[in-house]
Symmetry: C2
Subunit: 207 residues, 2 copies
DNA sequence: GTCTATAAGAAGATAGAC
DNA sequence: GTCTATCTTCTTATAGAC
């Protein structure tokens, strides 16, 4: 890993924990194992490092999201997968999404950074809303819309269903960001939540 | 309003928008209409202002929470109120809780400040978790437990019910903190959520 | 209680040697 | 590409006049 990437990595870790303004350039350099002035051979300013993180993480996100059809206007592929959905596979989807969001090193640090910086400007606010609210909700909504059309789920407002499915996941995720030691309880509650969700919305005769 | 309180107020506004470290003492003094050194006649340090905010807001919270029986180990009074619960009164409770959390000037700014500072130390993390996760969830759980005992709601895991009821409220609340212009859509979705929730959990023969 | 003046230090960033 | 030395500005905080 080259120095430029190591700076980005160290900065992301520090920004995620303390916020942009609370971290000094010297601190970042220290974490990388160089002196502060050396850092300016790689980035022209502290703000430049922040912007590079933003760019890099947005690129990663778009790749990840498009592979899941989370950003596009259709979820056709996933509907195909979930048309043979069972309670266990619904749990797998929920737990999988949750643990990925929670444990992927970059995703996790970037989410914390955005959490801290979200009120600084409208661009960061919009990015947070897109990645952690709008995209997951519209993705889930489309999934449930298809599962409804297949006759597997009771007919219901899919936006509300998406909110019912995703909001607990979101709350538990932000909880674990703050209190990592509560992950076991969170996972247990998440599983109970999905079982209950399945019980509520799934047609009795389906499967 | 005396100067000491005006400093607290101005500092809270600034901390909520930019975070503790991004705000200078001069900026706070400016917002109050005095010079920075004058501020030290009221508080002995910048950190002292922050701690005073924390203390003041925790006191306000405890008063508010105890009047709602949110912190205690029982929700007896509220169960009495909600034993005559209707769909409309459930919506009123949800919307009321939501708009209070969102529009109360102090509650709102303090929540934003905690959001920004939550990863700085474990004390702030614990405070956030208590006020915006644990207390509301245990409160809701107790309410549903009583409504279940009254035979108004279907029997179900009340912790999961509380999560189903509160998590969407929480997601929409944090969304509106970030994007205040989305409040109308959020309120509409919140109302739909509660109607759906009621439909799901309420016994058909109840009422 | 407010001000001006100022200390003491930290921060972002540059110059120039190696 | 890394370092030391340095500049400049910002920031917290104090001293002391009014």
């Amino acid at each position: 890993m080259n120095t430029k990437s190591r700076i980005l990595d160290a900065a992301l870790t520090l920004f995620a924990e303390k916020g942009y303004h609370s971290v000094s350039v010297a601190e970042i350099a220290d974490a990388v194992g160089i002196k502060a002035p050396s850092l300016y051979k790689h980035y022209k300013s502290k703000r430049d490092i922040f912007d590079a993180i933003l760019l890099e993480m947005q690129t990663r996100y778009e790749i990840q999201a498009s592979s899941l059809n989370m950003n596009g206007s259709n979820a056709t592929v996933d509907a195909g997968i979930f048309s043979s959905v069972s309670e266990e596979s619904l749990i797998q989807m929920g737990i999988g999404l949750f643990t990925y969001f929670l444990h992927d090193d970059y995703v996790c640090r970037f989410r914390k950074m955005l959490t801290i910086e979200q009120f600084h400007d409208t661009e960061l606010a919009a990015l947070y809303t897109k990645q952690y609210n709008d995209d997951p909700l519209s993705y889930q909504s489309q999934i449930f819309s298809m599962l409804g059309a297949c006759g597997l789920f009771r007919p219901a407002n899919t936006d509300v269903m998406a909110l019912h499915f995703y909001a607990p996941l979101y709350l538990l995720l932000t909880l674990c960001d703050r209190e990592p030691e509560q992950e076991p309880e969170a996972l247990q509650l998440l599983e109970q939540h999905i079982r209950q969700f399945n019980l509520i919305y799934k047609k009795e005769n389906a499967q």
